[in-house]
Subunit: 333 residues, 2 copies
C-alpha cells in the first residue's frame, strides 16, 4: 500500500516536472525561448501562441491574421543612447562647419553640448525637435546616399558602454521571440518612432526582418531621373511621426490590419496606442511592455508619469522585466 502510494507520489512529482515543460516547450520538445526565465511572462507568451495556432482552440487565429508589431528602440535593442540620435550627433558634428545657421537652434546645441536632459525630454514628449535635426541632416540627398552613410556608421561606430558595433546591442530574448512567432506563421513587423530609411539599413541583418516589414517615421520624397539613373530624393517635410497615436496610423498605412501581438517599452509612453490598437482587435491578442529595470546588465530607467506601466495595469498587458524575465540580455555578455 505504502509502496504504491509512493509510486503515485513519484508519478505526480514527475508530472509536476512534465507539465511546465509541456507548457513551455515547443512541439519538437526544445525550448523556443531559452533566454527567458521560467516566469509568468514566458508562459503567458507561449500559452498565447499555442492557443492561437491550435485549430481546436476557441482562440484559434488563421495564419493570415497572425500579425505582430514590435517597437524597436528599447524593445528590440538598447536605446541608451538612442542609436539614430548617436548617428545624427555624428552627422551634425560632421556637417556643422558648412551650416553655421544651426548654431542658433536649441536642439542642435543640445546635441553638440551633450545636453542629455533636453534631448531626453524631447524623446519623452514625442521627439519633435529631434525630427527637425533628422531632416536637416537626412534630407536633400538621395535615399541611396543616405543609406550608404548610415551603413558606414554601422560599420564603424560602437556603443559607448558595451564597446561593440551598434548592430550587436539587440536583445537576444526578443530575437528569440521574433523567430518563435515566425516559426508559428506570424508575420512580424517593426513599428518604431525611428526613421523608416534608417532602420531599413539593418533590419534584415540584425533581426531577419525585411525592409517591407519595417514601419517608421517618414517624410516626403520625390522620384527623379538624373543622368539616366532613377533615384528617390529625400525632402525635408515630415509625413508621419510613427510614435504614440501615430503608430496605429502607421500600422494601418503599412499593414492595413490590426495586429494580434504587440510589444513596446517603458520610456516615453510611445507604444501605448499601438497596444491599445492591438487590443481592440476582435481576435484574441496579447500585449507586452518591456521594463528597463536592470541597472547592472543594461540600464535602469522609468517614465515620467508612468503611463505605460499604468496602461499595463489597467488593460492587463504583460510587463516584461528585463531583470527577472530575461536569463540573458545580449549575445556578447
Amino acid at each position: 500500500m505504502i509502496k504504491s502510494y509512493n509510486r503515485i507520489k513519484a508519478l505526480l512529482l514527475l508530472l509536476l516536472f512534465i507539465i511546465p515543460f509541456g507548457i513551455t516547450f515547443s512541439q519538437n520538445g526544445s525550448d523556443p525561448l531559452p533566454s527567458w526565465n521560467e516566469t509568468k511572462t514566458k508562459s503567458n507568451i507561449i500559452d498565447f501562441v499555442k492557443s492561437v495556432t491550435d485549430e481546436n482552440s476557441s482562440l484559434y487565429v488563421k495564419p493570415y491574421d497572425r500579425i505582430a508589431t514590435f517597437d524597436n528602440d528599447g524593445t528590440l535593442w538598447c536605446e541608451v543612447p538612442t542609436i539614430q540620435v548617436a548617428y545624427t550627433f555624428m552627422k551634425v558634428k560632421e556637417m556643422l562647419p558648412t551650416h553655421p545657421e544651426w548654431k542658433d537652434e536649441k536642439i542642435f546645441n543640445a546635441l553638440l553640448d551633450g545636453d542629455k536632459e533636453y534631448i531626453d525630454h524631447d524623446i519623452e514628449t514625442g521627439g519633435k525637435e529631434l525630427m527637425k535635426v533628422l531632416y536637416a541632416t537626412n534630407a536633400g540627398i538621395t535615399l541611396e546616399d543616405f543609406q550608404k552613410q548610415v551603413s558606414d556608421f554601422f560599420n564603424t561606430a560602437e556603443h559607448p558602454k558595451y564597446k561593440v558595433p551598434f548592430t550587436k546591442v539587440y536583445y537576444v530574448p526578443m530575437l528569440e521571440l521574433i523567430n518563435y512567432l515566425r516559426a508559428n506563421e506570424f508575420e512580424v513587423f517593426i513599428c518604431s518612432g525611428g526613421g523608416l530609411d534608417f532602420m531599413r539599413v539593418i533590419s534584415n541583418e540584425v533581426y531577419g526582418i525585411p525592409t517591407q516589414n519595417v514601419i517608421g517615421s517618414f517624410g516626403k520624397s520625390k522620384f527623379e531621373i538624373t543622368d539616366g539613373s532613377a533615384e528617390i530624393m529625400k525632402l525635408p517635410d515630415l509625413i508621419l511621426v510613427n510614435d504614440k497615436a501615430g503608430k496605429p496610423v502607421g500600422i494601418d498605412y503599412f499593414i492595413g490590419r490590426k495586429p494580434i501581438f504587440s510589444a513596446g517599452n517603458v520610456r516615453s509612453g510611445g507604444d501605448i496606442e499601438m497596444c491599445e490598437y492591438c487590443q481592440s482587435n476582435t481576435l484574441p491578442s496579447i500585449q507586452l511592455i518591456v521594463n528597463h529595470d536592470d541597472a547592472i546588465r543594461e540600464f535602469e530607467y522609468s517614465e515620467k508619469g508612468n503611463e505605460s506601466l499604468n496602461a499595463c495595469a489597467k488593460y492587463d498587458w504583460n510587463v516584461v522585466s528585463m531583470k527577472n524575465d530575461w536569463k540573458k540580455i545580449f549575445e556578447f555578455e
Copy 2:
C-alpha cells in the same frame, strides 16, 4: 548513310519540339502559365524567372530580392469602367441629397451626367479631380465603416458589360503569373493609383495578396479612441497619389527596395516611372506593359501621346498583347 542522316534529322526535329517545351514548362513539367499563348512574351517571362532562380546562372537573384510590383486597374483586372470610379459614382448618387454644394463642382456633374470624356481626361492626366471626389465621399468616416461600404458594393454591384460581380473581372493570365512568381519565391505587391483602403478590401480574396502587400494612394488619418473602441478616422487630405512619379515613392515607402519585376498597362502612362525604377535596379529585371488591343474579348483603347508603348520600344520592355498573348482573359468566358 541516308538512314543515319534521317535518324539525325528525326532527332533534331524531336529536339526542336523539346527545346521550346523545356523553356516554357516549369520544373515539374506542367505549364505554369496555361492561359498564355506560346509567344515571345511568355518565353521572355519564363526565361527571366528561370535565370533569376537558377543558382548557377550569372543572373541569379536571391529570394530576398525577388520583389514584383503590379499595377491593378487595367493590369490585373478590367478598368472599363474603373471600378473605384463605379463605386464612387454610386456613393455620389447616394450622398447627393445631403450635399447640395456638390452641384457646383465640375467633376461631380461629370460623374452624375456620365461625362466619360471629362472623367477619362482626368484619369489620363493623373486623376486629380477624381481624387477630390474620392476624398469627399470617403473621408470623415472610420476606416472600418468605409471598408464595410466597399465590401457591400462588391457584394451587390456588377460589371455593366460582363454582368458578373466586379471581383470576377480579374485577368486569369495575370493571376497565373502572380502564382507562378510566388511559387518561385517572389514577394508580390500591388502598386496602384487606386485607393489603398479600397483595394485592400478585396486584394486577398481576388489575388491572394495580403493587405500589407498593397500599395496605393492614401490620405491622412487619425487614431481615435471613442466609447472604448479604437478606430482609424479617415481625413480629407491626400498624402500620396500613387501614380506616375508617385509610384516609385510609394514603392520606397511600402517596400524600401527596388523591384526586379514590374507590370503596368497602356492608358495614362501611369506605370512608366514604376518600370523605370524597376529597370534601374542593379539586379537583373523585367518589365511588362499590358496593351488593351482585344476589342472582342475585352476593350480596345490606346493612350494619348502613346508614352507607354514608346517607353517599351525605347527601354526594351515587354508589350503584353491581350489579343495575341492571352489564350483566355476571364474565368467566366
